[in-house]
Amino acid sequence: MAFRVAKATVKAVLVYLLYFLVAPLILPMLTLVPGLVESIEFFVIVFVVLMVLSDLTERTIYHCFFNTARALFVIAYLAFSVRDGLFTTNVENISLTVNLTLFYTIAALLSLLELAKTVMQAINFMSERAETGIKP
């Protein structure tokens, strides 16, 4: 259990560090769209929580549940935040529109790949448990 906690902590710290380092770089782009920074913060928090829970419940069926939930959350977040894929913001009488459709498509496809992986993990876990006779 101590190893799982340590692993979860290290991974959470790494993800947070990645966010902490990358966020200032893309901040000029993010501040153009109102509410985007808050939305991304919410995404990072939920993502890290699900990741930590998944690591803490490793070698149980809940590990697969949390992994699937995380993949589904990423897909849902992208689907809700994308809408038509266009981010439009107005500064005085200047209108700026950024078309993020292609970027979101790539991200959604990667998330689907992640979801497929978690489903395969669950199937593998259940089959291994069936072979060994241990209850999941």
Binding site: V22, N93, T97, V98, N99, F103
Partner: protein
């Protein structure tokens, strides 16, 4: 099955890292991207077009080239009717380089006067809609649009005629002089002629005159239209309400007739 799952995990992680790296570098590149606009220049062409040249200076200090830069300017009148549409397309703005883009907006005076002759006589404004689009980092299409009003200076602002003056040239002939004045508020010099016809009350042409025109932008013009007419006819025209028709023939536009009653 563990190996394929692990490989799938590694592959997705690599792709996520590449995507995150791309977003970070694209966002970081934005801060090294500078756009500035130079002083607009007005020129005229032999086709009677007024060309507004707007220099754009782009310094792309980011990591990625900007592709398909397209700048479109649409001028429309107060009723929303399109007066002019100009586009400038630059296929690539390479990274790490300064690029100067010259955006030319063409306004045809004949077309403007055809739409509404008030553009010749009254100062007004045109609505300008500017749209700029480009492909940032080859993945993110970005579009920027704005609109503003563009002040329009009339070339024949405050066109007025004075009282006709008559003077006898001989027993049978008289000279009719009509003072004319206006201000050239346009962004171009006015060179050409004023062709004037003097008619009596029945619409019969009595005399013609041609006056050269050379009025710099932003300056006033005050001149005379001189006609030589038979003495009795001149008196008759002034007394019984004849009229003068003016035709402007300049390097920028042809316009006429402007009808001025006399008498």
């Amino acid at each position: 099955m563990n190996v394929p799952i692990r490989m799938l995990g590694i592959a997705t992680t690599i792709f996520w890292v590449i995507l995150a790296g791309f977003i970070a570098s694209a966002g970081y590149s934005l801060k090294d991207l500078n756009f500035s606009i130079g002083e607009p220049q007005f020129t005229t062409t032999s086709d009677r077009d007024m060309v507004l040249s707007l220099p754009l200076y782009v310094f792309n200090g980011g990591f990625y080239s900007l592709k398909g830069f397209n700048l479109t300017t649409v001028f429309s009148d107060a009723e929303g009717a399109e007066v002019s549409r100009s586009s400038t397309f630059v296929p690539t703005i390479p990274h790490g380089q300064n690029t100067t883009i010259l955006h030319n907006v063409t306004l045809n005076m004949d077309k403007l006067a055809e739409n509404d002759e008030q553009y010749l006589f009254n100062d007004t404004s045109l609505n300008a809609e500017v749209t700029a689009g480009l492909n940032f980092a080859e993945l993110l299409p970005v579009q920027l649009s704005t609109n503003f009003t563009f002040p329009w200076g009339a070339p024949l602002y405050d066109l007025t005629f004075g009282q006709p003056r008559f003077r006898s040239l001989s027993r049978s002939n008289a000279a009719v002089t009509v003072p004319i004045s206006f201000e050239n508020h346009a962004a171009f010099d006015l060179n050409g002629t004023i062709h004037a016809n003097l008619y009596d009350k029945d619409g019969t042409l009595l005399a013609e005159s041609q006056t050269p025109l050379d009025v710099s932008k932003g300056s006033s013009y005050a001149g005379n239209l001189d006609f030589a007419v038979p003495l009795n006819t001149a008196s008759q025209a002034s007394a019984t309400g004849g009229h003068i028709e003016l035709h402007f023939s300049t390097s920028m536009f042809e316009y006429g007739p402007v009808v001025m009653p006399i008498g």
